[in-house]
């Protein structure tokens, strides 16, 4: 596909998604206001136009589904049939299917959906609504047979010159529809929305980041000047102005972030269909419960969260939920439940995927990991269940023959871990034998700007993402205990592993000072302390990627420039946490 075509297809996807998104609310309108010709025509036009463009681009399945529902809309619009709930349901179903199909186009997936049942349902609904029981009058089935076939049209003889009778010469593709109503005012609030190239928004985002950095620097300078020339009356004005700039910058940052935010519905909307399909393939009976789909996240999260979630869902269906007869034998409801819930927790978005299946058998996971050489038998022995479950995230670990009914794709869960890490998030798993499994995914709302705690350790300055910092303690060195070769700190009767940040980063350990600062970090359920030399303060930092640095091995998610104009590395707490709870710890 050449660049031009690719651009056209990407435009098509955007426009098609917009068209489809308009249909749901229009249907709500219809139901509250009764049948309205204008609205019906509007819905008709959405489907009609979508079909037209899809035809050009060769997306036959889109054409088929759009055509079938368009035929119903046409009859509704022309008053030949009345709107029933069944018709509305089936049309909405086709809208959902169209979304799925457009999604495939969007992601360049060359997959076909099973549209047969839907097309049949559309035909049935129309036949029933027509009430005549006359199949010839109803929606033609199979639809694909009557949709103009591109090559056929392409080879059609040239159209007639402007003279009535000559029209017979034109090869007319089968069923036809009146081409539109005239003089219907546009219901679209065309002026309320502006289509902006994402690159432009990203540019604004980038510049905002720079402004944030400059603001931070100004704040530092004003403080420094303030301590030196505190009596100067001009300083008050300067401080005021900088405070104002501070506020405005924060607002601006938030506004830009919001420009990029989209509801998770965009991703979750694909799941019902996906779950239904996978469940039927694997012979499972599954109910999908979705909540919190209105939670908004950054566009880049929307783009990258779909695949790992689908992966988790597929695993839940494949390995988690038992077949109906097994469930019955275990005294569970035959129908399994997968729930997906999203919510915002401070600056993080929490997405939970739970199933009520058989849970993950940690002993089995350990055995498999030993077999695959991912851990030694001794390590596996010592490993807590919690740590063992995380073995499934190891590259090379496949759940093949761990549970029954296996997909055999050999795709490991490590892709889930990797995808989530790329979003600066982390995954946790909770599982109970026969009680099901829950994946908790936590992702920062924004990927670009975070609150951080600046610390010094081993002679360098580092930024720690503040969202994951629970508390900071000043501890005397003698409070640190050592168990099984691991330094620990007991905080309120709870034992926390303690690590010197400098050692983690491969620098030499600090000389034994009288006291240390212990930054208590919680990555999900995993809590640990990082020992640092000095606390510098809180700062809002803009994450800049570092080229040429392997983020995973370096425990860094990027770098930033501080108020003092220094380049500082930002710690990747999730990666540190993985490393210490994972099997590779020595």
């Amino acid at each position: 596909m050449d660049a031009e075509m690719q651009e056209i297809v990407s435009d098509f996807v955007t426009e098609a998604e917009e068209s489809l998104d308009r249909i749901d609310p229009l249907f709500v309108d219809l139901e509250t206001n009764g049948e309205d010709q204008e609205i019906l025509n509007d819905i008709f036009r959405c489907l009609h136009t979508l079909k037209g463009a899809a035809g050009f681009l060769g997306f036959q399945q889109v054409v088929d589904v759009a055509h079938a529902s368009e035929s119903i809309l046409k009859k509704l619009r022309d008053g030949e049939i009345g709107l029933t709930k069944r018709l509305a349901d089936v049309i909405l179903r086709s809208v959902d299917t169209l979304r799925v199909l457009i999604g495939h186009v969007k992601h360049g997936e060359d997959v076909l959906e099973e549209t047969g049942p839907l097309l049949a349902a559309l035909a049935d609904a129309l036949a029933q609504a027509s009430g005549k029981g006359d199949p010839a009058d109803a929606l033609p089935v199979p639809v694909s047979a009557v949709v103009p076939d591109p090559p056929k049209v392409a080879s059609a003889p040239p159209g007639p010159v402007p003279a009535g009778p000559a029209i017979k010469g034109e090869q007319l593709p089968a069923p036809a529809g009146p081409e539109g109503q005239r003089g219907v005012p546009d219901r679209r609030d065309a002026l309320q929305n502006l289509r902006v190239d994402i690159e432009r928004i990203d540019k604004v985002m980038d510049l905002t980041g720079e402004v944030v950095l400059a603001r931070n620097r100004l704040l530092t300078l004003v403080n420094a000047i303030g301590s030196r020339y505190g009596d100067d009356p001009a300083l008050e004005n300067l401080s005021e102005t900088v405070s104002f700039l501070d506020l405005v910058t924060s607002d601006m940052q938030l506004s830009v972030l919001k420009m990029r935010m989209q509801p998770l519905q965009k991703v979750f909307g694909k799941f019902p269909r996906a779950v239904r399909d996978m469940a039927s393939t694997m012979g499972k009976d599954i109910e999908l419960k979705i909540s919190g789909e209105e939670t908004e996240v950054d566009r880049s999260v929307i783009e990258h969260i779909g695949d790992p979630l689908i992966h988790i869902i597929r695993n839940a269906i494949d390995h988690g939920i038992e077949p109906p007869d097994v469930r019955k034998a275990r005294g569970k409801k035959e129908r399994g439940v997968i729930s997906i819930d999203a919510s915002q927790k401070g600056t993080q978005v929490l997405i939970q995927v739970s199933d009520d299946g058989r849970g993950i058998d940690t002993d089995c996971v350990k055995r498999k990991a030993v077999e695959k050489g991912l851990v030694t038998a001794e390590d596996a022995e010592r490993m807590t269940d919690e740590a063992a479950i995380h073995l499934i995230f190891q590259p090379g670990f496949t759940t093949m023959d761990v549970a029954t009914e296996l997909s055999g794709r050999g795709v490991g869960m490590d892709v889930v871990q990797t995808s989530i890490s790329r979003l600066n998030g982390y995954v946790e798993i909770k599982t109970r034998k026969d009680g099901g499994t829950t994946f908790r995914i936590s992702i920062p709302l924004t990927l670009a700007i975070i609150q951080s705690l600046m610390v010094r350790a081993g002679g360098g300055q580092y930024a720690i993402p503040l969202a994951l910092v629970e508390e900071i303690l000043r501890v005397a060195s003698k409070e640190l205990a050592v168990t099984a070769g691991q330094k620990v700190l007991v905080i309120r009767d709870r034992v926390h592993p303690y690590f010197e940040l400098s050692e983690l980063l491969g620098k030499k350990s600090p000389p034994d000072p009288a006291f240390r600062y212990a930054v208590v970090v919680a990555v999900g359920e995993n809590r640990f302390c990082l020992g640092v030399d000095k606390l510098v303060g809180e700062e809002e930092v803009v994450i800049k990627p570092i080229e040429g640095l392997t983020m995973e091995s370096s425990h860094m998610i990027g770098a930033t420039i501080t108020g003092e104009g220094k380049v500082v590395l930002i710690l990747d707490l999730a990666s540190i946490s993985r490393n210490m709870s994972g099997p590779n710890r020595t």
Binding site: E4, M5, E7, I8, D11, F12, E15, A16, R45, H48, T49, L50, K51, G52, A53, G55, F56, L57, P148, P150, V153, A154, A156, P158, G159, P160, V161, P162, A163, G164, I167, E170, L172, P173, A174, P175, A176, G177, P178, E179, G180, Q181, R182, G183, V184, P185, D186, R187, R188
Partner: protein, 129 residues
């Protein structure tokens, strides 16, 4: 034949369709292409002058293709403007209506650059006579 430098107006409410048609025209060698999103906008642009050819969709909000061709044909300045109507499914009565209204030709979508070329050739061989 239509001059490759001729100013062409592509009318469609769907951006993707405008791009597709533009792309097909480009493949045929036409570069001077302007777009309009419905009949009303199209009419305003046509009144601005200089257009040698119109490719218009039928089903559009505000003023549809049929409305546009009627308006164009009843306008002394534009009445001879070559006009190609793009239709989704050819239905006889409808197409006849369009032809009566004065379209130079029509084309059923989806169509290829080759079909578009034939249609244009037809229109302009006739116009040239």
């Amino acid at each position: 034949m239509l001059d490759f430098k001729a100013k062409i107006l592509v009318v469609d409410d769907f951006l993707t369709m405008r791009r597709i048609v533009r792309n097909l025209l480009k493949q045929l060698g036409y570069e001077n292409i302007t777009e309009a999103e419905d009949g009303e906008h199209a009419y305003v642009k046509l009144k601005g002058g200089g257009f040698g050819f119109v490719v218009s969709d039928w089903n559009m909000p505000n003023l549809d293709g049929l409305g546009l061709i009627r308006k164009v044909r009843s306008d002394p300045e534009l009445k001879d403007l070559p006009f190609l109507m793009v239709t989704a499914e050819a239905e006889k009565e409808k197409v006849i209506e369009a032809i009566r209204a004065g379209v130079s030709n029509y084309v059923v979508k989806p169509f290829t650059a080759e079909v578009l070329k034939e249609k244009i050739e037809k229109i302009f061989s006739k116009a040239g006579k």
